[in-house]
Amino acid sequence: MIMPYFYYFSGWFVIMFCQIVISPRLSVAGVFPDFVLAAVVLLGLKRGWETGFRYGFVFGLCLDLLNPLTFGWTVLTLSLSGLSAGVIREKIYVENNIYQAGIVAVMAFIYQLLMHLIESTRFLSQNPQSSVVDSLFIALYTAVISIASLILLQQRYRLRELL
């Protein structure tokens, strides 16, 4: 009964750690991987829309606490991302790392673009072209991180089987 909560909490802790502590340190020329979005989308793809939605909601609430200017928006977009990933799983799911990373890239691009748009309504000086380019690079970086994470997880399962 307690174990599922333990796993939820562990997953939450690890992903939040990656997003808040690791991600800024992996930044290349201002482009950083979005661990939370990758996790939410992958969970939606692997476990279905309910899991994706739930994680998206929780992570969104947590990330909203970090930035009062996008307060409320992150929880909305991340929840919808998790839900959308679950819907994709039901409609056009393929068990392939590159395919899943591609889905992550597309959703990360849309998510980043939306967040840029939300911010640009506050800061009108933002350049829309640079927003698209930034979103694209972040999406690609996130996709790369997703593939790496998927491969690592698969290796972990293989190791467990070996043991």
Binding site: M16, I20, V21, F53, D64, L83
Partner: protein, 260 residues
């Protein structure tokens, strides 16, 4: 419409939309308060870890910068210390200069002969500054030696420790006469002092001015051993030279009396 309501996604989307809208329309002040509360509770461990890592990262950088500064400051300190010592030395020399009735040419040592006891040194004062051969060379602590050769810009100084350098001297207290020269060991010998003369350790030995090169009254050293040997005409007297020949930096060449 009914299809949308029956959709399994409807309720979660509605729920999250309501919550989001409620959060979005909050005044910025309340959002800030909530953010502050969240940052100091749920997200505190991550923020603390992040801060700690930033501190570690900056500590390395700071450590590198501080080490560099320490290195440069060490060099600077050593230069300043050297300047301080030189300053003190020059001050002493200046005071010393005022006391003496001679015209002194200050000179710096530019080379020392590579022997165990320094027997000659090269100084940076030559004919261009009026320094010629057979001129006394002194330091604030006493006689050093005499010049034995000069060219335009430098002179060779024969030190008291060279056996060829002899100074006519006397005991300041009782004017007992003799010759200071180096025979062996770390000390100078005060020779040709008759056995019946009263010379005791601690007596000051000065130049007598009878040799023709060194003027009268220059400090040479202090008697440390004075003994009368049976069957010998002269006393065996050892003198500890006043000048420390191992740490010489600047010296003076006496060129003429001050009033010349």
């Amino acid at each position: 419409m009914r299809g949308i309501l029956k959709s399994p996604y409807f309720m979660p989307i509605l729920l999250v939309a309501i919550i989001s809208v409620a959060m979005i329309i909050l005044p910025l002040r309340s959002k800030t308060t909530l953010s502050r509360m969240g940052s100091s509770s749920i997200l505190l461990p991550f923020i603390e870890i992040d801060k700690y890592l930033v501190k570690i990262g900056t500590s390395f950088e700071q450590n590198r910068i501080l080490n560099r500064r320490l290195d440069s400051l060490s060099v600077l300190m050593s230069v300043l210390l050297e300047n301080k010592n030189e300053n003190e030395r020059l001050r002493r020399m200046l005071e010393f200069n005022f006391e003496l009735p001679y015209k002194l040419i200050p000179a710096e040592i530019i080379a020392v002969s590579p022997t165990s006891l320094f027997k000659s040194i090269l100084i940076d004062a030559g004919l261009n500054r009026g320094v010629d051969r057979n001129m006394p060379v002194i330091s604030p602590s006493g006689i050093i030696g005499k010049t034995i050769a000069s060219d335009r810009k430098a002179s060779t100084v024969q030190l008291l420790f060279d056996p060829g350098c002899k100074v006519a001297a006397r005991i300041q207290r009782n004017r007992a006469m003799g010759i200071v020269e180096h025979l062996e060991g770390r000390y100078l010998s005060f020779t040709n002092v008759p056995g019946d003369q009263d010379v005791v350790p601690g007596d000051t030995v000065i130049s007598s001015g009878l040799g023709g090169i060194f003027p009268e009254g220059l400090f040479i050293g202090t008697v440390i051993i004075s003994e009368e040997k049976e069957g010998e005409l002269f006393r065996n007297i050892l003198v500890d030279p006043g000048a420390d020949f191992s740490i010489l930096d600047e010296v003076f060449v006496i060129v003429s009396p001050a009033n010349d």
